[in-house]
Protein backbone atom coordinates (compact mmCIF):
# COMPACT_ATOMS: atom_id res chain seq x y z
CA UNK A 1 0.00 0.00 0.00
CA UNK A 2 1.48 3.25 -1.08
CA UNK A 3 1.72 6.23 1.21
CA UNK A 4 -0.23 8.15 -1.37
CA UNK A 5 -3.80 7.28 -2.13
CA UNK A 6 -3.52 8.33 -5.76
CA UNK A 7 0.12 7.61 -6.49
CA UNK A 8 -0.06 8.06 -10.25
CA UNK A 9 -1.44 11.52 -9.87
CA UNK A 10 1.32 12.59 -7.52
CA UNK A 11 4.02 11.39 -9.87
CA UNK A 12 2.51 13.13 -12.84
CA UNK A 13 2.47 16.55 -11.21
CA UNK A 14 4.66 18.84 -13.28
CA UNK A 15 7.39 20.83 -11.67
CA UNK A 16 6.63 24.55 -11.54
CA UNK A 17 8.13 26.63 -14.30
CA UNK A 18 10.46 28.59 -12.03
CA UNK A 19 12.18 25.44 -10.85
CA UNK A 20 12.89 24.14 -14.33
CA UNK A 21 13.96 27.44 -15.88
CA UNK A 22 17.55 27.32 -17.07
CA UNK A 23 19.86 30.22 -16.54
CA UNK A 24 21.51 31.23 -19.75
CA UNK A 25 24.26 33.73 -20.32
CA UNK A 26 24.07 33.26 -24.08
CA UNK A 27 27.33 33.89 -25.85
CA UNK A 28 29.14 34.42 -22.57
CA UNK A 29 28.99 30.67 -22.07
CA UNK A 30 31.28 28.00 -23.42
CA UNK A 31 29.86 26.83 -26.74
CA UNK A 32 30.27 23.66 -28.75
CA UNK A 33 33.41 23.42 -30.82
CA UNK A 34 31.53 23.69 -34.09
CA UNK A 35 30.01 27.02 -33.00
CA UNK A 36 33.25 28.58 -31.76
CA UNK A 37 35.62 30.60 -33.97
CA UNK A 38 39.14 29.22 -34.07
CA UNK A 39 40.88 32.09 -32.28
CA UNK A 40 38.37 31.93 -29.45
CA UNK A 41 38.82 28.16 -29.36
CA UNK A 42 42.54 28.70 -28.99
CA UNK A 43 42.03 31.13 -26.17
CA UNK A 44 39.72 28.80 -24.28
CA UNK A 45 42.27 26.03 -24.76
CA UNK A 46 44.87 28.17 -23.06
CA UNK A 47 47.06 28.99 -26.07
CA UNK A 48 47.91 32.60 -25.40
CA UNK A 49 51.22 33.39 -27.01
CA UNK A 50 50.88 34.85 -30.47
CA UNK A 51 53.61 34.63 -33.07
CA UNK A 52 54.47 37.80 -35.02
CA UNK A 53 52.52 36.47 -38.00
CA UNK A 54 49.42 35.99 -35.88
CA UNK A 55 49.74 32.26 -35.35
CA UNK A 56 49.36 30.69 -31.96
CA UNK A 57 52.63 29.49 -30.48
CA UNK A 58 51.92 25.77 -30.54
CA UNK A 59 49.14 24.87 -32.98
CA UNK A 60 49.44 21.18 -32.20
CA UNK A 61 48.12 21.96 -28.74
CA UNK A 62 44.74 22.87 -30.15
CA UNK A 63 42.85 19.90 -31.48
CA UNK A 64 40.23 21.86 -33.37
CA UNK A 65 38.98 18.82 -35.24
CA UNK A 66 37.99 16.77 -32.23
CA UNK A 67 34.35 15.67 -32.66
CA UNK A 68 31.86 17.01 -30.18
CA UNK A 69 30.55 13.63 -29.10
CA UNK A 70 33.87 12.62 -27.55
CA UNK A 71 33.78 15.42 -25.02
CA UNK A 72 31.42 16.80 -22.44
CA UNK A 73 30.79 20.38 -21.38
CA UNK A 74 30.05 20.71 -17.70
CA UNK A 75 29.16 23.64 -15.54
CA UNK A 76 30.88 24.38 -12.24
CA UNK A 77 29.45 27.14 -10.11
CA UNK A 78 28.46 29.89 -9.61
CA UNK A 79 27.28 28.38 -6.33
CA UNK A 80 30.14 26.01 -5.70
CA UNK A 81 32.07 25.98 -2.42
CA UNK A 82 35.48 25.77 -4.04
CA UNK A 83 35.04 28.73 -6.38
CA UNK A 84 35.54 31.28 -3.59
CA UNK A 85 32.34 33.16 -4.21
CA UNK A 86 30.29 33.25 -7.35
CA UNK A 87 32.79 32.26 -10.02
CA UNK A 88 31.24 30.09 -12.71
CA UNK A 89 33.47 27.89 -14.83
CA UNK A 90 32.38 26.02 -17.90
CA UNK A 91 34.73 23.16 -18.64
CA UNK A 92 35.01 20.85 -21.62
CA UNK A 93 36.16 17.47 -20.41
CA UNK A 94 37.52 14.36 -22.05
CA UNK A 95 36.93 11.84 -19.33
CA UNK A 96 38.46 13.59 -16.36
CA UNK A 97 40.92 15.73 -18.32
CA UNK A 98 40.12 19.40 -18.88
CA UNK A 99 40.35 20.52 -22.51
CA UNK A 100 38.80 23.97 -22.53
CA UNK A 101 37.77 26.39 -19.81
CA UNK A 102 35.76 29.56 -19.83
CA UNK A 103 35.18 31.60 -16.70
CA UNK A 104 31.75 33.26 -16.68
CA UNK A 105 31.71 36.20 -14.30
CA UNK A 106 29.46 39.10 -13.41
CA UNK A 107 27.23 37.44 -10.79
CA UNK A 108 28.38 39.93 -8.16
CA UNK A 109 28.38 42.99 -10.40
CA UNK A 110 26.84 45.92 -8.55
CA UNK A 111 28.05 48.82 -10.66
CA UNK A 112 30.50 50.20 -8.12
CA UNK A 113 32.35 52.26 -10.73
CA UNK A 114 29.05 53.95 -11.60
CA UNK A 115 28.32 54.47 -7.91
CA UNK A 116 31.73 56.10 -7.48
CA UNK A 117 30.71 58.83 -9.92
CA UNK A 118 27.88 59.82 -7.60
CA UNK A 119 29.87 59.89 -4.37
CA UNK A 120 32.23 62.67 -3.34
CA UNK A 121 35.93 61.97 -2.81
CA UNK A 122 35.25 61.98 0.93
CA UNK A 123 32.66 59.22 0.51
CA UNK A 124 34.61 57.38 -2.18
CA UNK A 125 36.72 55.26 0.13
CA UNK A 126 33.59 53.71 1.65
CA UNK A 127 32.76 52.48 -1.84
CA UNK A 128 36.13 51.08 -2.96
CA UNK A 129 36.70 49.29 0.34
CA UNK A 130 33.86 46.93 -0.58
CA UNK A 131 35.52 45.71 -3.77
CA UNK A 132 38.30 43.40 -2.64
CA UNK A 133 36.84 42.61 0.74
CA UNK A 134 39.87 40.61 1.88
CA UNK A 135 42.34 43.45 1.36
CA UNK A 136 40.06 46.40 2.02
CA UNK A 137 42.89 48.68 3.18
CA UNK A 138 44.66 48.36 -0.15
CA UNK A 139 41.58 49.55 -2.01
CA UNK A 140 41.27 52.56 0.26
CA UNK A 141 44.97 53.29 -0.05
CA UNK A 142 45.06 53.23 -3.85
CA UNK A 143 41.99 55.45 -4.09
CA UNK A 144 43.45 57.90 -1.56
CA UNK A 145 46.84 57.97 -3.27
CA UNK A 146 45.21 58.69 -6.64
CA UNK A 147 43.09 61.48 -5.16
CA UNK A 148 46.10 62.99 -3.41
CA UNK A 149 48.12 62.87 -6.62
CA UNK A 150 45.42 64.96 -8.32
CA UNK A 151 45.12 67.30 -5.33
CA UNK A 152 48.87 67.67 -5.03
CA UNK A 153 48.89 67.49 -1.23
CA UNK A 154 51.76 66.01 0.76
CA UNK A 155 50.85 63.57 3.49
CA UNK A 156 52.56 63.75 6.91
CA UNK A 157 55.14 61.06 7.65
CA UNK A 158 53.14 59.49 10.42
CA UNK A 159 50.07 59.08 8.19
CA UNK A 160 52.23 57.40 5.56
CA UNK A 161 53.72 55.01 8.10
CA UNK A 162 50.35 54.21 9.65
CA UNK A 163 49.07 53.42 6.17
CA UNK A 164 52.02 51.13 5.49
CA UNK A 165 51.45 49.39 8.82
CA UNK A 166 47.79 48.77 8.05
CA UNK A 167 48.57 47.57 4.52
CA UNK A 168 51.07 45.02 5.79
CA UNK A 169 48.70 43.80 8.51
CA UNK A 170 46.04 43.48 5.84
CA UNK A 171 48.38 41.55 3.55
CA UNK A 172 49.14 39.20 6.41
CA UNK A 173 45.44 38.70 7.11
CA UNK A 174 44.62 38.18 3.46
CA UNK A 175 47.38 35.60 2.98
CA UNK A 176 46.34 33.82 6.18
CA UNK A 177 42.82 33.65 4.83
CA UNK A 178 44.24 32.22 1.61
CA UNK A 179 46.23 29.62 3.54
CA UNK A 180 43.00 28.64 5.28
CA UNK A 181 40.85 28.28 2.16
CA UNK A 182 43.63 26.68 0.14
CA UNK A 183 44.09 24.12 2.89
CA UNK A 184 40.39 23.43 2.89
CA UNK A 185 40.30 23.04 -0.90
CA UNK A 186 43.04 20.44 -0.64
CA UNK A 187 41.31 18.57 2.16
CA UNK A 188 43.13 19.93 5.19
CA UNK A 189 40.32 21.13 7.41
CA UNK A 190 42.67 21.83 10.31
CA UNK A 191 44.54 24.39 8.20
CA UNK A 192 41.23 26.13 7.64
CA UNK A 193 40.70 26.45 11.40
CA UNK A 194 44.28 27.60 12.04
CA UNK A 195 44.28 30.19 9.26
CA UNK A 196 41.10 31.77 10.51
CA UNK A 197 42.40 31.69 14.09
CA UNK A 198 45.50 33.70 13.24
CA UNK A 199 43.61 36.08 10.98
CA UNK A 200 41.26 36.85 13.86
CA UNK A 201 44.10 38.64 15.64
CA UNK A 202 44.55 40.97 12.68
CA UNK A 203 40.80 41.53 12.53
CA UNK A 204 40.68 42.36 16.23
CA UNK A 205 43.42 44.92 15.78
CA UNK A 206 41.49 46.49 12.91
CA UNK A 207 38.39 46.60 15.08
CA UNK A 208 40.31 48.24 17.89
CA UNK A 209 41.88 50.85 15.59
CA UNK A 210 39.12 51.61 13.12
CA UNK A 211 35.98 50.41 14.85
CA UNK A 212 35.23 47.85 12.14
CA UNK A 213 36.57 44.48 11.12
CA UNK A 214 35.80 44.89 7.42
CA UNK A 215 35.11 47.85 5.17
CA UNK A 216 37.06 50.04 7.52
CA UNK A 217 37.05 53.36 5.64
CA UNK A 218 40.19 54.07 7.66
CA UNK A 219 42.58 55.29 4.96
CA UNK A 220 41.01 58.39 3.46
CA UNK A 221 42.20 61.12 1.12
CA UNK A 222 44.36 63.34 3.31
CA UNK A 223 45.59 60.74 5.77
CA UNK A 224 43.92 58.20 8.02
CA UNK A 225 40.71 58.50 10.00
CA UNK A 226 42.16 58.23 13.51
CA UNK A 227 45.43 57.83 15.28
CA UNK A 228 46.56 54.41 16.45
CA UNK A 229 45.13 53.39 19.84
CA UNK A 230 47.21 53.33 23.04
CA UNK A 231 49.34 50.22 23.30
CA UNK A 232 49.22 49.47 19.58
CA UNK A 233 52.93 48.59 19.57
CA UNK A 234 52.36 45.65 21.88
CA UNK A 235 49.37 44.45 19.88
CA UNK A 236 51.30 44.49 16.61
CA UNK A 237 54.34 42.80 18.15
CA UNK A 238 52.16 40.06 19.61
CA UNK A 239 50.61 39.50 16.17
CA UNK A 240 54.09 39.34 14.59
CA UNK A 241 55.44 36.89 17.16
CA UNK A 242 52.42 34.61 17.12
CA UNK A 243 51.95 34.50 13.36
CA UNK A 244 55.66 33.98 12.74
CA UNK A 245 55.85 31.15 15.24
CA UNK A 246 52.73 29.50 13.89
CA UNK A 247 53.83 29.88 10.28
CA UNK A 248 56.46 27.26 11.09
CA UNK A 249 53.69 24.99 12.33
CA UNK A 250 52.15 25.30 8.86
CA UNK A 251 55.40 23.87 7.53
CA UNK A 252 54.82 20.77 9.62
CA UNK A 253 51.18 20.61 8.66
CA UNK A 254 51.38 21.27 4.92
CA UNK A 255 54.78 22.06 3.43
CA UNK A 256 56.35 18.72 4.27
CA UNK A 257 53.19 16.71 3.89
CA UNK A 258 53.49 14.15 1.06
CA UNK A 259 49.83 14.31 -0.04
CA UNK A 260 49.92 18.11 -0.10
CA UNK A 261 53.18 18.06 -2.08
CA UNK A 262 51.80 15.67 -4.67
CA UNK A 263 48.68 17.70 -5.14
CA UNK A 264 50.52 21.00 -5.60
CA UNK A 265 53.89 20.28 -7.20
CA UNK A 266 53.88 20.49 -10.99
CA UNK A 267 50.16 21.31 -11.01
CA UNK A 268 49.01 24.41 -12.86
CA UNK A 269 52.37 25.35 -14.35
CA UNK A 270 52.90 28.83 -15.77
CA UNK A 271 55.88 30.37 -17.58
CA UNK A 272 57.11 33.93 -17.30
CA UNK A 273 56.29 34.71 -20.97
CA UNK A 274 52.72 33.52 -20.55
CA UNK A 275 52.29 35.47 -17.33
CA UNK A 276 53.55 38.70 -18.91
CA UNK A 277 51.43 38.24 -22.03
CA UNK A 278 48.31 37.75 -19.92
CA UNK A 279 49.10 40.79 -17.69
CA UNK A 280 49.28 38.50 -14.67
CA UNK A 281 50.74 40.15 -11.55
CA UNK A 282 51.29 39.40 -7.90
CA UNK A 283 52.25 36.00 -6.48
CA UNK A 284 51.33 34.36 -9.80
CA UNK A 285 53.89 36.41 -11.70
CA UNK A 286 56.52 36.04 -8.98
CA UNK A 287 56.01 32.25 -8.94
CA UNK A 288 57.40 32.17 -12.50
CA UNK A 289 60.65 33.76 -11.34
CA UNK A 290 60.00 37.38 -12.32
CA UNK A 291 61.03 39.53 -9.33
CA UNK A 292 58.29 42.11 -9.84
CA UNK A 293 56.82 43.56 -6.68
CA UNK A 294 55.64 47.18 -6.82
CA UNK A 295 56.67 47.63 -3.18
CA UNK A 296 60.26 47.17 -4.32
CA UNK A 297 60.30 48.12 -7.98
CA UNK A 298 58.12 51.24 -7.88
CA UNK A 299 58.06 52.11 -4.16
CA UNK A 300 55.14 53.99 -2.67
CA UNK A 301 54.33 55.03 0.92
CA UNK A 302 57.19 54.05 3.27
CA UNK A 303 58.29 50.88 1.49
CA UNK A 304 61.59 52.38 0.30
CA UNK A 305 62.60 52.76 3.96
CA UNK A 306 61.88 49.13 4.88
CA UNK A 307 64.13 46.12 4.59
CA UNK A 308 62.35 43.12 3.10
CA UNK A 309 62.84 40.39 0.53
CA UNK A 310 60.83 39.86 -2.64
CA UNK A 311 59.93 36.17 -2.72
CA UNK A 312 60.13 34.52 -6.15
CA UNK A 313 59.48 30.98 -7.32
CA UNK A 314 61.01 28.84 -10.03
CA UNK A 315 58.48 26.54 -11.61
CA UNK A 316 55.30 28.62 -11.52
CA UNK A 317 53.26 25.77 -10.10
CA UNK A 318 50.79 25.63 -7.23
CA UNK A 319 53.50 24.80 -4.73
CA UNK A 320 55.52 27.88 -5.67
CA UNK A 321 52.48 30.06 -5.21
CA UNK A 322 51.87 28.47 -1.82
CA UNK A 323 55.48 29.03 -0.75
CA UNK A 324 55.44 32.64 -1.92
CA UNK A 325 52.36 33.47 0.10
CA UNK A 326 53.64 31.65 3.18
CA UNK A 327 56.93 33.51 3.02
CA UNK A 328 55.25 36.83 2.34
CA UNK A 329 53.47 36.40 5.66
CA UNK A 330 56.91 36.14 7.27
CA UNK A 331 58.20 39.14 5.33
CA UNK A 332 55.17 41.13 6.47
CA UNK A 333 55.99 40.24 10.07
CA UNK A 334 59.54 41.48 9.45
CA UNK A 335 58.25 44.74 8.03
CA UNK A 336 55.75 45.25 10.85
CA UNK A 337 58.59 45.14 13.39
CA UNK A 338 60.45 47.84 11.49
CA UNK A 339 57.27 49.90 11.27
CA UNK A 340 56.76 49.67 15.03
CA UNK A 341 60.36 50.74 15.65
CA UNK A 342 60.47 53.55 13.15
CA UNK A 343 56.98 55.03 13.52
CA UNK A 344 57.45 58.82 13.46
CA UNK A 345 55.41 61.18 15.58
CA UNK A 346 53.30 63.96 14.17
CA UNK A 347 49.95 64.37 12.51
CA UNK A 348 47.98 61.40 11.29
CA UNK A 349 46.31 63.48 8.58
CA UNK A 350 47.19 66.56 6.61
CA UNK A 351 46.26 69.82 8.36
CA UNK A 352 44.57 71.34 5.34
CA UNK A 353 41.11 72.59 6.21
CA UNK A 354 40.03 72.19 2.60
CA UNK A 355 40.75 68.45 2.56
CA UNK A 356 40.38 67.06 6.06
CA UNK A 357 37.82 68.04 8.69
CA UNK A 358 39.06 70.14 11.64
CA UNK A 359 39.62 68.47 15.04
CA UNK A 360 36.41 67.97 16.98
CA UNK A 361 37.50 70.27 19.82
CA UNK A 362 37.92 73.27 17.51
CA UNK A 363 34.37 73.04 16.20
CA UNK A 364 33.00 74.25 19.54
CA UNK A 365 35.10 77.40 19.57
CA UNK A 366 35.74 78.34 15.95
CA UNK A 367 33.14 79.44 13.41
CA UNK A 368 35.48 78.71 10.50
CA UNK A 369 36.11 75.20 11.76
CA UNK A 370 32.37 74.56 11.88
CA UNK A 371 31.95 75.87 8.33
CA UNK A 372 34.82 73.74 7.02
CA UNK A 373 33.43 70.68 8.77
CA UNK A 374 29.99 71.27 7.30
CA UNK A 375 31.33 71.95 3.81
CA UNK A 376 33.52 68.85 3.73
CA UNK A 377 30.74 66.50 4.74
CA UNK A 378 28.02 68.04 2.57
CA UNK A 379 29.76 69.20 -0.60
CA UNK A 380 33.14 67.55 -0.29
CA UNK A 381 36.29 69.16 -1.63
CA UNK A 382 36.97 70.04 -5.23
CA UNK A 383 39.77 68.23 -7.04
CA UNK A 384 41.61 69.96 -9.91
CA UNK A 385 40.92 68.74 -13.42
CA UNK A 386 43.16 65.92 -14.58
CA UNK A 387 43.58 62.17 -14.69
CA UNK A 388 45.94 59.79 -12.95
CA UNK A 389 46.67 56.07 -12.82
CA UNK A 390 48.04 54.94 -9.48
CA UNK A 391 49.07 51.36 -8.74
CA UNK A 392 50.06 49.52 -5.58
CA UNK A 393 50.85 45.89 -4.77
CA UNK A 394 47.81 44.26 -3.21
CA UNK A 395 48.04 40.66 -1.91
CA UNK A 396 46.71 39.58 -5.30
CA UNK A 397 48.82 41.73 -7.61
CA UNK A 398 48.83 45.17 -9.16
CA UNK A 399 45.83 47.08 -7.85
CA UNK A 400 45.36 50.17 -9.98
CA UNK A 401 43.05 53.15 -9.74
CA UNK A 402 42.42 55.31 -12.79
CA UNK A 403 40.84 58.53 -11.66
CA UNK A 404 39.62 61.32 -13.93
CA UNK A 405 38.41 64.62 -12.51
CA UNK A 406 36.52 67.45 -14.21
CA UNK A 407 37.29 69.87 -11.39
CA UNK A 408 34.25 68.96 -9.29
CA UNK A 409 33.77 67.31 -5.92
CA UNK A 410 32.98 63.90 -7.40
CA UNK A 411 35.22 61.74 -9.58
CA UNK A 412 34.29 62.07 -13.24
CA UNK A 413 35.33 58.47 -13.74
CA UNK A 414 36.89 56.00 -11.36
CA UNK A 415 38.18 52.71 -12.69
CA UNK A 416 39.72 50.04 -10.50
CA UNK A 417 42.13 47.64 -12.17
CA UNK A 418 41.40 44.59 -10.08
CA UNK A 419 44.23 42.06 -10.02
CA UNK A 420 41.78 39.18 -9.57
CA UNK A 421 39.84 40.25 -12.66
CA UNK A 422 42.94 40.18 -14.83
CA UNK A 423 44.46 37.09 -13.20
CA UNK A 424 41.34 35.04 -13.90
CA UNK A 425 42.27 35.07 -17.60
CA UNK A 426 45.04 32.61 -16.80
CA UNK A 427 42.63 29.84 -15.77
CA UNK A 428 42.14 28.25 -19.25
CA UNK A 429 45.92 27.98 -19.52
CA UNK A 430 46.49 26.57 -16.04
CA UNK A 431 43.65 24.07 -16.21
CA UNK A 432 44.31 22.69 -19.69
CA UNK A 433 45.43 19.09 -19.66
CA UNK A 434 44.97 18.77 -15.92
CA UNK A 435 42.49 16.71 -13.99
CA UNK A 436 39.15 18.09 -12.92
CA UNK A 437 40.04 17.38 -9.30
CA UNK A 438 43.12 19.61 -9.66
CA UNK A 439 40.94 22.42 -11.01
CA UNK A 440 39.81 23.18 -7.47
CA UNK A 441 43.41 23.49 -6.30
CA UNK A 442 44.34 25.69 -9.27
CA UNK A 443 41.41 28.08 -8.79
CA UNK A 444 42.42 28.38 -5.17
CA UNK A 445 46.04 29.13 -6.03
CA UNK A 446 44.98 31.99 -8.33
CA UNK A 447 43.23 33.47 -5.27
CA UNK A 448 40.40 35.38 -6.94
CA UNK A 449 38.14 37.61 -4.84
CA UNK A 450 34.90 37.90 -6.70
CA UNK A 451 33.95 41.23 -5.17
CA UNK A 452 36.88 42.72 -7.02
CA UNK A 453 36.39 40.71 -10.22
CA UNK A 454 32.81 41.87 -10.70
CA UNK A 455 32.96 45.22 -8.89
Amino acid sequence: MSAYENEDEVRSVERPAWSTKETSEGSQELRRRTDTPSDELGRESGAVLQMPDGRVLDPSQIDVDRPDDETMIINMGPQHPSTHGVLRLMLELDGEVVLRTKPVIGYLHTGMEKTAEELTYVQGSTNVTRMDYLSQMHNEAVFSLATEALLGVDIPDRATWIRTLMLELNRMGSHLMWMATNGMDLGSTSMMIYGFREREMVMSFFEKTTGLRFNNNYIRPGGVAADLPDGWEDDVLVICDTVLERSYEYDDLLTGQPIFRERTEAVGGLTAEEALALSVTGPLLRSTGVPWDLRRTMPYLAYDKLDFDVIVGTYGDNFDRYSIRLNEIRESAKMLRQLVEGMPSGDYRVQDAKVTPPPRARIDSSMEALIHHFKIFTEGFKVPEGEVYCAIESPRGELGCYLASDGGAKPYRMHIRGPSFVNLQVLPLLLRGGLLSDAVAVISSVDPVMGEVDR
Partner: protein, 164 residues
Protein backbone atom coordinates in the same frame (compact mmCIF):
# COMPACT_ATOMS: atom_id res chain seq x y z
CA UNK B 1 65.36 52.37 -23.25
CA UNK B 2 64.51 56.03 -22.78
CA UNK B 3 65.57 56.81 -26.34
CA UNK B 4 63.66 53.87 -27.73
CA UNK B 5 60.46 54.86 -25.96
CA UNK B 6 60.74 58.42 -27.18
CA UNK B 7 61.42 57.19 -30.71
CA UNK B 8 58.25 55.08 -30.65
CA UNK B 9 56.27 58.15 -29.61
CA UNK B 10 57.79 60.39 -32.32
CA UNK B 11 55.18 62.47 -34.10
CA UNK B 12 52.48 61.63 -31.57
CA UNK B 13 51.12 64.44 -29.36
CA UNK B 14 52.16 63.79 -25.76
CA UNK B 15 51.84 65.31 -22.31
CA UNK B 16 53.05 64.27 -18.90
CA UNK B 17 51.27 63.79 -15.63
CA UNK B 18 51.70 62.49 -12.10
CA UNK B 19 52.89 58.88 -11.69
CA UNK B 20 53.46 58.33 -15.42
CA UNK B 21 56.30 59.09 -17.78
CA UNK B 22 54.34 60.08 -20.85
CA UNK B 23 50.75 60.25 -22.00
CA UNK B 24 50.36 59.78 -25.76
CA UNK B 25 47.35 60.71 -27.89
CA UNK B 26 47.63 58.70 -31.14
CA UNK B 27 45.17 58.80 -34.03
CA UNK B 28 42.65 56.00 -33.94
CA UNK B 29 44.13 54.46 -37.09
CA UNK B 30 47.69 54.53 -35.73
CA UNK B 31 46.78 53.26 -32.27
CA UNK B 32 47.52 49.56 -32.66
CA UNK B 33 50.77 50.18 -34.55
CA UNK B 34 51.93 52.52 -31.79
CA UNK B 35 51.18 49.95 -29.10
CA UNK B 36 53.06 47.34 -31.11
CA UNK B 37 56.12 49.54 -31.42
CA UNK B 38 55.96 50.38 -27.71
CA UNK B 39 55.87 46.67 -26.94
CA UNK B 40 58.95 46.33 -29.13
CA UNK B 41 60.68 49.08 -27.11
CA UNK B 42 60.37 47.18 -23.85
CA UNK B 43 56.85 47.67 -22.53
CA UNK B 44 56.27 44.01 -21.79
CA UNK B 45 52.92 44.27 -20.08
CA UNK B 46 49.61 46.01 -20.64
CA UNK B 47 48.60 46.62 -17.07
CA UNK B 48 45.24 48.27 -17.68
CA UNK B 49 42.76 49.17 -20.38
CA UNK B 50 39.51 51.00 -19.74
CA UNK B 51 36.97 53.20 -21.45
CA UNK B 52 35.76 56.64 -20.43
CA UNK B 53 32.80 58.70 -21.61
CA UNK B 54 33.52 62.46 -21.79
CA UNK B 55 29.96 63.47 -22.73
CA UNK B 56 29.67 65.96 -19.84
CA UNK B 57 33.27 67.17 -20.03
CA UNK B 58 34.11 67.78 -23.68
CA UNK B 59 36.23 70.82 -22.75
CA UNK B 60 38.96 68.73 -21.12
CA UNK B 61 42.50 69.85 -21.75
CA UNK B 62 44.22 68.00 -24.58
CA UNK B 63 47.49 68.75 -26.37
CA UNK B 64 47.40 70.68 -29.65
CA UNK B 65 46.28 68.74 -32.67
CA UNK B 66 44.01 66.33 -30.79
CA UNK B 67 40.30 66.64 -31.54
CA UNK B 68 38.21 65.75 -28.48
CA UNK B 69 35.69 62.98 -29.07
CA UNK B 70 33.04 61.60 -26.76
CA UNK B 71 34.80 58.36 -25.81
CA UNK B 72 38.36 57.56 -24.95
CA UNK B 73 40.11 54.23 -24.57
CA UNK B 74 42.85 54.54 -21.97
CA UNK B 75 45.69 52.01 -22.02
CA UNK B 76 48.38 51.82 -19.35
CA UNK B 77 51.54 50.03 -20.43
CA UNK B 78 54.23 48.90 -18.03
CA UNK B 79 57.89 48.23 -18.66
CA UNK B 80 59.26 45.82 -16.08
CA UNK B 81 62.82 46.15 -17.34
CA UNK B 82 62.92 49.97 -17.22
CA UNK B 83 60.37 50.41 -14.38
CA UNK B 84 58.38 52.88 -16.40
CA UNK B 85 54.76 53.46 -17.27
CA UNK B 86 53.30 55.06 -20.34
CA UNK B 87 49.66 55.88 -20.94
CA UNK B 88 47.86 55.97 -24.28
CA UNK B 89 44.59 57.83 -24.70
CA UNK B 90 42.88 57.26 -28.02
CA UNK B 91 39.86 59.33 -29.05
CA UNK B 92 36.82 57.31 -30.13
CA UNK B 93 33.93 59.16 -31.81
CA UNK B 94 30.33 58.63 -30.75
CA UNK B 95 29.13 57.98 -34.30
CA UNK B 96 31.46 55.04 -34.88
CA UNK B 97 32.80 53.76 -31.55
CA UNK B 98 35.22 51.27 -33.05
CA UNK B 99 38.94 50.74 -32.35
CA UNK B 100 41.40 47.96 -33.10
CA UNK B 101 41.67 45.24 -30.51
CA UNK B 102 45.02 44.80 -28.77
CA UNK B 103 44.39 41.07 -28.29
CA UNK B 104 47.09 40.09 -30.77
CA UNK B 105 49.68 42.32 -29.12
CA UNK B 106 48.77 41.69 -25.48
CA UNK B 107 46.44 38.68 -25.01
CA UNK B 108 45.85 39.94 -21.45
CA UNK B 109 43.64 42.75 -22.76
CA UNK B 110 40.94 40.25 -23.66
CA UNK B 111 38.83 40.62 -20.51
CA UNK B 112 39.51 44.36 -20.22
CA UNK B 113 38.28 45.04 -23.76
CA UNK B 114 35.21 42.94 -23.12
CA UNK B 115 34.56 45.06 -20.04
CA UNK B 116 34.94 48.31 -22.00
CA UNK B 117 32.57 46.93 -24.65
CA UNK B 118 30.07 45.86 -22.03
CA UNK B 119 30.01 49.09 -20.05
CA UNK B 120 30.59 51.67 -22.82
CA UNK B 121 29.59 49.96 -26.06
CA UNK B 122 32.99 50.51 -27.67
CA UNK B 123 33.65 47.87 -30.35
CA UNK B 124 37.08 46.28 -30.66
CA UNK B 125 37.78 44.87 -34.12
CA UNK B 126 39.80 41.68 -34.04
CA UNK B 127 38.67 40.65 -30.58
CA UNK B 128 38.00 36.88 -30.49
CA UNK B 129 34.90 36.95 -28.31
CA UNK B 130 33.33 40.37 -27.91
CA UNK B 131 30.40 39.57 -25.63
CA UNK B 132 29.14 41.10 -22.42
CA UNK B 133 31.23 40.13 -19.42
CA UNK B 134 29.78 41.78 -16.31
CA UNK B 135 26.19 42.54 -17.33
CA UNK B 136 23.66 39.83 -18.22
CA UNK B 137 23.54 38.78 -21.84
CA UNK B 138 20.11 40.31 -22.57
CA UNK B 139 20.88 43.67 -20.92
CA UNK B 140 20.06 46.75 -22.94
CA UNK B 141 22.34 49.77 -22.94
CA UNK B 142 25.82 50.38 -21.62
CA UNK B 143 25.70 51.40 -17.94
CA UNK B 144 28.84 53.51 -17.59
CA UNK B 145 27.83 55.91 -20.34
CA UNK B 146 27.04 59.32 -18.93
CA UNK B 147 23.56 59.40 -20.50
CA UNK B 148 22.62 56.14 -18.80
CA UNK B 149 20.72 56.89 -15.59
CA UNK B 150 21.69 55.06 -12.45
CA UNK B 151 18.18 54.27 -11.22
CA UNK B 152 17.07 54.22 -7.63
CA UNK B 153 14.93 52.23 -5.27
CA UNK B 154 11.97 54.12 -3.77
CA UNK B 155 12.53 54.71 -0.07
CA UNK B 156 9.76 55.58 2.34
CA UNK B 157 10.00 58.99 4.02
CA UNK B 158 12.51 60.25 1.49
CA UNK B 159 11.82 63.48 -0.35
CA UNK B 160 10.99 63.42 -4.05
CA UNK B 161 13.82 61.93 -6.16
CA UNK B 162 16.16 64.32 -7.88
CA UNK B 163 16.46 64.85 -11.63
CA UNK B 164 18.07 61.61 -12.73
Amino acid sequence: MTDLAIRALDGVPTTTGPMVDQIAFPERTAYKALVESLKGSGFEMCSDLCGIDYLDHMTRSLPDGVTPERFEVVVNLLSLSAKRRVRIRVQVPETAPVVDSLFEVYPGTEAMEREAFDLFGIQFTGHPDLSRILMPEEWEGHPLRKDYGSGRIPVQFKEAPGPR
